[in-house]
Every structure is written in structure tokens, then in C-alpha cells.
Symmetry: C2
Subunit: 343 residues, 2 copies
């Protein structure tokens, strides 16, 4: 099967200047892939004018007259931008013309549009956003939800656990990914009722490898493969992570540029620091998934560069190959049956 993927070519901070080179790069790497660039054809056509006929067999343009801005309200994007590159990319998924779409556009608009156009899978009340974060073991921990929902109830958290299990099985090739519920550490007031009740729903289901409550630092210890939480909490954890990392990187730079000696030391340490940077490079982890929809939608970071955007496309390819949405749907049904048998 040849994966066909639509790219929202106008999306992100850099639009076509990142998306088009990323598309060409990945087409040269993945010989069994077709891409559709969605966006303003007058902008896109010149960018691929000198490509060989061979490349053009697997690359096409779909015109879109509008563009969702990074600060457009989701409701505005939904009502007033029906001919946006984002909307049309999602429509292509809906109509079965492509197997997935990738956008670096604004998360709120992307989620609202994808949800409206594609609808949620049977049994899924609310889609969720999941992303991998690096951990101390040199692997990744997937965290969901990262902000698609606030005030998730225990049933939603259960659905997140199911979706997280299936996604990491597919993407990380883990047969039984360890699922942790994000909580706080004090024994007696351990978590709010929501988290406790979610644990009761998740625990008895044998297909979920539930390892219990985890805390914020466990994300980076690699205690669990998937950390499940409410979108408000997940978003705060994600932004906090970005904030700490930026602060430390700022202080590292500052420390090595203070005077001649530190500059020299910095020069000597440069390859090491670069290596370290690479290890923690958020670009390597680019590609959040909007899970729980009847179709595959990947969200790239708005500030993604070419390398980073290709990672998001790769994420889409894997999810197409593993058919993540239909797996979620099937496995959810069987897990709910098991839960009902127990209850």
C-alpha cells in the first residue's frame, strides 16, 4: 500500500518555505509515498517547477484560496475559512483521497476543524493530543492529553489510556506499553476523585498494562511509556518542560560566553554540547497526533524547520501503515466488553 498524505503547505511560522523542502526531502527518502501540497497554487507551483517527472508522479498540488493564521480563533477558522489549506487537507482525509494530513497550523483551529470534519471514532467522546517527550533512558515517554480537553472525566481518561496504548504499540513497537496515570504524591490525598476513579476503570482491563500513579518527574525518568492526564494538567506539564529546558539552555550559553576563558572552554566543549543539544532537540520529537478521530491528523510544531517537519510526516506514515484509528476503534470495543464483564 502506498501512503498518501496531504500537507497543509501554508501552515506554521514558515509556511511553504519549510513544508515544500520537507516534502521533497521525505519523497527522496521514502520511495513508497505520495504527497499532496495543499495551499495557494501560485505560491506552490514555482517552488516545485524544476522537479523531475519522477518526483512529480508522487507530488501534486491542491489549491486552497485561504490560510488559517496562527492566532485565528478556532471558531473563525471553522466558519469563515472553509477554503483554507488546513480545512482542505482535512477534507481530503475525510473524502478518502489521502490517508492522513499534517499541519503546522494553530492547534485550536486544527483540533476544532478535524473534529468537525472527521468526527470522533465510535466510543471516543473526546479526541486527545499526544506527543513523545525524551526521557532519561534515552527513549521517549508519550503524554496525553496535552490540551485538547479540560476537565476530563474518568471515562475520558480511560479512553486516553486506550488510545495511548495503541499509539505507542504502533509507533514505538512496544507490545505492552506501560501506562501511568499522572497524579500527585501525597499518600492520603493522592489525587482528585477523577484520577482515582479513572484508575478503577483502567486497572481491570488486561489489554492495558497499567502501572499505577506516576508523578511529574516520572515523565523524564521513563517510569511509564505513556502518561495519561487531563489536558489542562498535560498542557501545563508540557509548557513547564519547555520553559525549564529553555532556561537551562540560556544559562549554559551565558556561562560559556562570559569571558575569554569560558569561551575557550565552550569551543572545546562545542561538539559535546552540540551532541547534547541533539539528544534533547525538540525537533526530533516533532509530530503530535490528534487521536480519537476518524482519520489521521498530525500536528507539527508551528516553528518547525525542514528536518522537524519531515519527522511529523514520518509520524503520519507510521500511523497510516499501522492503521491507528481503526485499531483504536476495534481495541476500544473489546476493552469495553472486558470492563463490562468485570463490572
Amino acid at each position: 500500500m502506498t501512503p498518501r498524505i496531504a500537507l497543509d503547505a501554508m501552515s506554521g511560522d514558515y509556511g511553504p518555505s519549510v513544508v515544500v523542502p520537507a516534502a521533497l526531502k521525505i519523497l527522496s527518502e521514502e520511495k513508497n509515498l505520495e504527497l499532496i501540497l495543499v495551499g495557494d497554487e501560485t505560491v506552490l507551483e514555482p517552488l516545485i517547477a524544476d522537479q523531475s517527472a519522477k518526483v512529480m508522479q508522487r507530488l501534486s498540488i491542491r489549491h486552497a484560496s485561504q490560510k488559517v493564521e496562527m492566532d485565528d480563533l478556532p471558531s473563525l477558522a471553522l466558519r469563515k475559512k472553509r477554503d483554507s489549506s488546513m480545512r482542505i487537507a482535512i477534507n481530503l482525509v475525510k473524502e478518502g483521497e489521502v490517508n492522513a494530513c499534517v499541519s503546522a497550523g494553530n492547534t485550536g483551529a486544527l483540533m476544532a476543524t478535524a473534529r468537525y470534519v472527521l468526527k470522533t471514532l465510535p466510543g471516543i467522546d473526546r479526541p486527545a493530543i499526544i506527543t513523545p517527550l525524551p526521557n532519561m533512558l534515552g527513549k521517549t515517554t508519550h503524554v496525553l492529553d496535552l490540551g485538547a480537553n479540560i476537565d476530563s472525566n474518568p471515562e475520558h481518561l480511560f479512553q486516553f489510556a486506550v488510545m495511548g496504548t495503541i499509539l505507542t504499540q504502533a509507533v514505538d513497537n512496544l507490545p505492552r506499553p506501560r501506562i501511568g496515570l499522572l497524579n500527585i504524591g501525597q499518600e492520603e490525598i493522592k489525587g482528585n476523585e477523577r484520577v482515582k476513579d479513572a484508575a478503577k476503570l483502567i486497572m481491570p482491563v488486561s489489554a492495558i498494562n497499567y502501572i499505577g500513579f506516576v508523578e511529574g518527574d516520572d515523565i523524564f525518568k521513563g517510569t511509564a511509556d505513556v502518561v495519561v492526564c487531563d489536558g489542562f494538567v498535560g498542557n501545563v506539564a508540557l509548557k513547564t518542560t519547555e520553559g525549564v529546558a529553555k532556561m537551562i539552555s540560556h544559562f549554559v550559553k551565558e556561562s560559556f560566553t562570559q569571558n575569554l576563558f569560558t569561551r575557550l572552554a565552550g569551543l572545546i566543549s562545542l561538539p559535546i554540547l552540540k551532541n547534547l543539544r541533539k539528544k534533547l532537540d525538540p525537533r526530533r520529537y516533532n509530530g503530535a497526533s490528534l487521536l480519537g478521530l476518524r482519520g489521521i491528523v498530525i500536528k507539527s510544531h508551528g516553528s518547525a524547520d525542514i528536518l522537524s517537519f519531515t519527522h511529523a510526516i514520518k509520524e503520519a506514515i507510521i500511523e497510516v501503515e499501522k492503521n491507528v484509528p481503526s485499531q483504536i476503534s476495534h481495541q476500544l470495543t473489546s476493552m469495553l466488553k472486558e470492563r463490562r464483564r468485570i463490572e
Copy 2:
């Protein structure tokens, strides 16, 4: 006025072996300070036996036959350990024998005991835990609540904003500390109702310098002097911060010890890395406050070393000198009056 402070000498991972040297260190620095070591006198007496009469004028021991363990449930500590060093240190605050107490004991037990013995200030429904975190500006951002409460309502968040204002005015000498409400970034679904309603309560009060919603990364950008949030969210943010910092520090160490070249580079960079470590050293920020009680209770990190524990004692001294609890009480009353006039 001479501040008198009780130290829970049996508390923390290292007990008297950290608390007693920290006490002696700070007595030598602060000439206008009296300390009471609370704990097992048979253990404590030998540790200060060779101190001069001059030191002993300002240092005494109060015997306690029990000790709260780090994993004791708060309810157990409260019911079964009425003669613990923690309980007696708090009792001394209640009875007016000391102006404050410092413990490195378990947070849940400390909060439960302090709340039971001291009670909350008039107008304060729930005490909160506040701690400073380093930010990119080289200053600190105070965050509360860090886990004393879960599911705080808008009124509680308002009270946290009041307490955070007063604490940072006292501790950081800021006339009008900037208060931010922790939220998530998506415009339309900006936060849950709780956070939005809290904003409505905080905004009109002129004595609170409210700057609006902030996100997780703002803690480290220094956008606000105080970040207010629910204890569940705050605890996750704090633990996430610790986790990211540990992971990065782990990778830095790993990078510089890979081979002979990297070890040499590490050797050359050692003073820089040490300096950096010092800048981000959590010991410099040790000393969380249990705010909203009729008395000053400072919580030191369980793994605090001597330097770190002295920082917690210094925090107590400042709060005594600035009389934080009575300031909270007075200012809260006037702020509530202002709010009612507006409503």
C-alpha cells in the same frame, strides 16, 4: 525583636546530622536569633555538648520522644505521634514560645499537623504551599499552591493570590509583585471555568497587581513574580521541573564522561559547569512556606543538606521579621472589602 525559631531536629533524610550543624551555622551568622532544637535529647545533647556558653544562650533543646517518618500517613502522624518533634515544634508556635518553626519532615504530615494545631487565618479557607523557583532573569518566581489542595475553587485561588502578593512583598521586597494565573494557551477554551472565575475575583482588587493568565513556561521566563494555581497542577509543574532538570543534568554528566576527549573537555569546563549548577542549585531555593496559618511554618526539602537547611531557616527569619501571617490577615480583610464595594 529577637526571632525565636523551633527546628524539627529529627526531620528530613538526615535528621540531626543536618539540622544541628545548620542551626550552629546560622547562629554564628545571625547574632540576633534564638533557636530551639526539638527532638530526642539523648541524641541532640551530645551534638551540642562542646558549644560555648555564648552560643548556648541562644540555643536550647526541647525533648520529643517520637519522630514522624517520611512515609507516615498524615492521619497517623496526627493521631499517634502527639509527642513527635514535628508536633512539638508546631505546638511551640501555637503557644507563642517561638515565632516560627522549620521542618524537613513529610509535607502531608506537616501540613495536616500545622493546620490542626494552628488553624487557618480568619478569611483563609485553605492553607497553601509556596516556593520560589529560579527564572531566566536570574531572579525567582514564587508558585502556589504546590499540593496542599486539590480542586481549589475560584475563591481559594483568590486567597492564594492575596497570600502570594504578601509573601513576595515581604521576602523579595517587591512593592507590587506581578501575579499571574496559570492557564493553558488556547484562546477560546482558555482555561477551565475555575480559572476564568478566579480572574474575575482577582482583577478588580487594586492591591493585587494582576497581570493576567500565564502558561507553564512563564514560570521560568520571569513573566510574573507569583504564579497562582490549583495544588494538583502546581505539584505536577514542580515535579515536572525537577524531572526535566535531573534529566538534563544526567545527560550533561553522561556527555562529558563518554571518552578521554570529553573527559578533558569536562575538566576544562568544570568551573563553568559548577557555576551553572550553583545558579540552578535547588538548595538555594530551599524553604517552602505553609501560608494561611496562624503561625509561620517552613518546610525544608527532605534531602536538604546543611547549606540548604540554613536557607529554610533564613526564610523563617524573614517571615517573622515581616510578620507575614498578620499581614495576610489584615490585607485580606481590606481586599475583600474592596471587592465587595465593587461587586
